[in-house]
């Protein structure tokens, strides 16, 4: 009787094992190898690649830039997505469906097509600059393409839906009686949001932030197309090593370091969430 759950989980175990665990293990082993231009990849069980990457200011800057972009994107998605989810949940059912579709729209289009669209919008003579110039907010076109700001804008556009979904699920579990009690006692709408709703959906907000952070830290197509070759993030640096220098061991080391970094931050976040939940009793 007790063995049945284990047998039932074998298919999922096999799927994840073959498709995720094995390639990950192979990448780990690859990161321990050495690369030479004349011999190709040479097996050598050493951590030399990790030492080289961690000591190199070039890669340090890349990882810091990746972290910064991911943090700014997460905060921006948080500030935009949380009120958005709250407002949509207060709409009439007819409008709610349309608005949800509009918010989730970016996810329905290929990331490359969507990002190429942003390159047209963010260009010096693109729509965004034309609008800013026309309204008179700026006197010269704003440089958005090939900048970190441009990357963040495009990333926020695609990651806000994830935040909205996470906050949405938390909002569904709210008891509307609490809000109505506050309103009947004389609280303003803003007070209801900040003092009644927000404290209860914090777990949803935080888990949405987790998703957005992980996706932003490992984003590839958007930083590659909008940031260009000068603004490298971890994912594009890995792509460079694999495709252009053919130095797969270094690329594997970069990938494992990115994975470890994101996992560490996610684990710390999770700990923080748990302790918070425990403190609230």
């Amino acid at each position: 009787m007790r063995a049945a759950p284990y047998w039932l989980s074998v298919p999922a175990f096999l799927l994840y094992g073959v498709l995720m665990a094995v390639p990950l293990a192979m990448t780990c082993l690859l990161s321990l190898d050495r690369f030479s231009a004349t011999e190709g990849i040479v097996p050598a069980y050493s951590l030399a690649n990790y030492a080289a990457v961690l000591a190199d200011p070039y890669y340090q800057q890349i990882y810091l830039r990746t972290l910064w972009i991911a943090l700014v994107t997460t905060v921006a998605s948080l500030l935009i997505g949380t009120p958005e989810a709250w407002i949509i949940s207060r709409l009439q059912p007819r409008w709610r469906g349309i608005c949800l579709l509009a918010v989730l729209g970016p996810l329905l289009i290929s990331v490359v097509v969507r990002t190429l669209g942003w390159t047209i919008l963010l260009a010096r003579e693109g729509l965004l600059n034309q609008a800013l110039l026309g309204v008179g907010l700026v006197s010269r076109p704003v440089e958005l393409l090939y900048t970190q700001t441009g990357i963040v804008i495009a990333l926020v556009h695609v990651l806000v839906p994830f935040m909205v979904i996470a906050v949405w699920t938390a909002l569904q579990r709210l008891d509307p009686a609490g809000e109505m009690a506050a309103l009947s006692l004389g609280a303003s709408k803003a007070a209801v949001f900040f003092r009644i709703v927000l404290p209860q959906i914090v777990p949803g907000v935080l888990s949405g932030s987790l998703i957005v952070f992980s996706l932003a830290a490992s984003a590839f197509a958007t930083p590659a197309l909008i940031g260009g070759r000068r603004l490298k993030v971890a994912a594009t640096a890995i792509y460079d090593e694999y495709l252009f220098t053919l130095d797969w061991p270094t690329g594997a080391a970069l990938a494992i370091l990115l994975l470890a970094g994101v996992l560490a931050i996610v684990a710390l976040w999770g700990r923080f969430l748990e302790r918070r939940d425990r403190m609230r009793g």
Binding site: G40, I120, E125, L145, G228, R229, T245
Partner: protein, 343 residues
């Protein structure tokens, strides 16, 4: 119930067999995308497919992309014929990706400089120079750039682009600037200094994708670029007012090269396809994509001959690079480029 299950099983088996049969006959050719791919698909593939009763599956990518694929498939390749730039082709030969050529009738008709050992051959010549937007230059009141050093002019700040060092154009530009600054392929420091201090500040972007480069021109982000004659011609054909300049210090010759892949599934067909690439009708078709013919017997119409490197006299004037000196250092140069130039 039993009958439907049996019928379904037979249908699935038939489809698997048919799919297997279709796959076994596909010749896989890896080469460049963009205008080159268009000409191949429209004019070069159909006669070969009809004559040999086969289907050609094309895998597009830059030379470095294709090289990476060959590396990934080493020993059991999917790709039968690889078309890459001459620099990466020497790398591919060194890493053992190329199989021995079986020369066909067209092989005897190509120039001597197109011979690349016994396992590869050059299939076309393009020139690396400067492409500029004639309309943008006129509007700004600039005269067209005439030399490589013109690109260091501060008036071009933020209006230039060039492919990165992952692209042969980038490597050639680096070596050319090294020569101009007093060094060369074996003394590359002057080249890096020149690029970092004078050229990189003027660059809007380092863009290796020909599609994105065309987009930068068409959206007005850049006014000039270090680019290849073939690509410039392709963009000009769309009606865009881009013009190509052979700089004063010399334009670099870039050979496109092809080789049959070691251990390919269709070795015989691959050899035949390679010989077909070197034949006069295909060389004439590729001239429309901006590749100068390597086949001596090809006669081009004057308008077409003016657009591509044609004839031994013109080809002799081009600057050729010694890839045997460059390839061992390319790794180190790439690392240095990423840290110094592409910031």
């Amino acid at each position: 119930m039993r009958a439907t299950m049996a019928a379904a099983a037979m249908l699935i088996a038939f489809h698997l067999a048919a799919a297997g049969a279709a796959r076994a006959e596909d010749l896989y050719v890896a080469g460049y995308g963009g205008s080159y791919e268009t000409i191949l698909r429209q004019q070069v593939f159909p006669p070969f497919e009809a004559a040999h009763n086969t289907h050609i599956a094309y895998v597009s990518g830059n030379s470095t992309d294709t090289l990476a694929k060959l590396q990934a498939q080493k020993g059991h390749p999917d790709i039968d014929v690889a078309i890459v730039d001459d620099g990466p082709m020497y790398q591919a030969k060194q890493l053992g990706f190329c199989a021995k050529l079986q020369p066909g009738p067209s092989y005897g008709e190509i120039y001597d400089i197109a011979h690349m050992g016994d396992d590869a051959a050059a299939t076309g010549i393009v020139v690396t120079g400067i492409g500029y937007d004639a309309r943008a230059f006129e509007k700004a009141g600039w005269s067209p750039p005439q030399s490589w050093t013109d690109l260091a002019d501060p008036k071009y700040k933020g209006k230039l682009a060039m492919p990165g060092i992952d692209n042969t154009y980038g490597v050639q530009a680096l070596v050319m600037y090294a020569r101009i600054a007093g060094g060369g392929a074996d003394n590359i420091d002057p080249g890096f200094a020149y690029m970092t201090n004078k050229i990189a500040p003027n660059m809007r972007a380092f863009e290796s994708s020909p599609g994105r480069m065309s987009e930068l021109f068409q959206s007005g982000e850049i006014a000039a670029a270090i680019w290849g004659s073939g690509r410039v011609n392709a963009l000009a054909d769309t009606g865009f007012p881009i013009k190509f300049v052979y700089p004063k210090e010399g334009a670099m010759a870039l050979f496109t090269a092809a080789c049959p892949v070691t251990g390919a599934r269709h070795g015989e067909l691959a050899q035949q396809f390679l010989d077909y690439l070197l034949s006069a009708p295909v060389q004439t078709a590729l001239a429309q994509a901006g590749n100068g013919p390597v086949n001596r017997t090809v006669k081009l119409a004057p308008e077409l001959a003016a657009r591509v490197p044609y004839g031994p006299e013109q080809i002799d004037k081009l600057v050729a690079l010694d890839w045997s000196k460059i390839n061992p250092q390319r790794d180190a140069w790439t690392k240095r480029w990423n840290r110094e130039v592409e910031r």
